[in-house]
Amino acid sequence: MFYVSVFFQYMGQYMKTKLQYRADLFVEFISDLMFQAVNLIFILVIFGHTSLLHGWTRDEMIFIYGFFLVPFALFGAFFNIWDFNERYIVRGELDRVLTRPVHSLFQIVLERMELESLLGGVTGIIIMMYAGSRLHLELHWYDLFVFILFVVGGMLVYAGVFISLATVSFWSDARSSIMPMMYNISNYGRYPIDIYNRVIRYVLTWVLPFAFVGVYPSAYFLGKKEWYIYSFLTPVVGIVFFVLAVFLWNAGVKRYRGAGN
């Protein structure tokens, strides 16, 4: 209960600061939209030259991309830990966080919140609805709950991987460029998994499970029965990776000695 009220207080403060700079907010919205448009245009253009991509149609590809945007937006809004090393370890900001009576990871999540990223999720839902209506997908009453479950699962996969990477800085001081690298790898999850070779498929499923953010959960809504097992594994994989990340985090915080002043 205490955590919930802390969450809303942070959120209130956040809104106030953001609304001070409305023009910047607008620019950010537009540039996010443009960024999402690039990938969409890519799909549209290549399907001008082929009708099927390994058995996936244009609208199915668009649907997968739309789905991917939703967990990705949630991740972007709440797990902004790209600069954890510079901001919290090198500058010693973590000292301040650790003196307070709320779990350190939770505080960092709140401090680095970027709610404007959520707009990407809205774009994603619109894209899914467009693709879904062209595909005449059948929806059941429980699909909404499945959707929420899969979206949260996908977000936790992302969060798990990136939090685990951030904890590396508890053990090594070196500024690492693993984060941008991982970000590029995560793009692989936006496309149907069967276009890759076996090694990459295995990695995207079990090691860096980015396929659980896009293709696998979407397969359920697209009625691709052969992938159903993977679709329903989405929340499980998400929770496993997230719990693992929290364990790593706690172990890291124990080792932390402080570097700033």
Partner: protein
């Protein structure tokens, strides 16, 4: 001239100090090229050629565009915007060299550095991973070198233009992001221009963007032959001259109405 050579050298040495960052850079480029390689393989499955390009040419196209990007890409637009915000531009303006010339030379220093430490090892790594086709024809290479030099010029001119606009708007994050979007999409980095629908191809003829990535990559993969190469190079040359005009005009105006905030 000597002082500009020195600027290239200094920037090169500056980059050299942080060269370890670039080992992961090579990996990132390989990861990106890999994603497109698998996508294109799936798109080509069963087809021997699309828009006159074979899968081998397409893979090479993707690899070369990314490696060339390492050379022509620079952040001088952001650097100019930053120096204006911080007021540093005032001291730069009283120094005995052309400010824009200095920025271009710094960009060139960076480009040469990345060419040697990112592109060249990157090409070796990608050639081992993916089936690339390198031309054995010396004239193709000569045309390619000429072409990426011109892409550097066009890209830097666009960056200078975006940077100089900051003198008027003070904060132009939006413009810089829009420019990046346009260049990503219309330079030919993620998709060859010949894949776009006809109306889009016609429209793009009136913009300089395909001179940045599409033309050099088409020359390298030998998708352009004979007259097409000459036309491509002429397109680049003409744009690199035309773009000088708005830069000069805006630069004259900018200096007149510059307001330094702090510094």
């Amino acid at each position: 001239m000597d002082k500009y050579m020195e600027m290239i050298r200094i920037r090169f040495l500056m980059m050299l100090a942080y060269r370890t960052n670039y080992y992961t850079g090579i990996l990132i480029y390989c990861i990106n090229i890999g994603a497109y390689y698998f996508l294109w393989s799936a798109i080509y499955s069963g087809k021997s050629s699309i828009q006159g390009m074979s899968i081998e040419q397409m893979t090479t196209y993707v690899a070369v565009s990314w490696m060339a990007r390492a050379f022509y890409f620079n952040n001088i637009d952001r650097e100019i915007a930053m120096e204006i915000k911080e007021g540093k531009v005032a001291t730069e303006l009283i120094r005995p060299y052309s400010y824009l010339g200095m920025k271009t030379m710094q960009g060139l220093g960076e480009g040469i550095f990345r060419l040697l430490f990112l592109s060249l090892p990157g090409v070796v790594v990608t050639a081992l991973l993916f089936p690339l086709h390198f031309s054995m024809n010396i004239t193709t290479w000569m045309y390619f070198i000429l072409s990426i030099t011109l892409s550097f010029i066009i890209n830097s001119e666009l960056n200078l233009l975006a940077g100089v606009v900051t003198f008027f708007t003070l904060n132009n994050e939006g413009l810089l992001r829009a420019k990046r979007f346009i260049i990503d999409l219309f330079s030919g980095l993620i998709l060859p221009i010949s894949f776009y629908p006809d109306w889009a191809q016609q429209a793009m003829k009136y913009f300089p963007f395909q001179g940045i990535s599409y033309i050099p990559s088409m020359i390298f993969t030998e998708s352009f032959q004979g007259q097409a190469i000459i036309n491509g190079l002429m397109f680049q040359l003409i744009w690199s001259v035309i773009l000088l005009i708005p830069i000069q005009v805006l630069w004259k105006l900018a200096k007149k109405q510059l307001v330094i905030q702090g510094g």
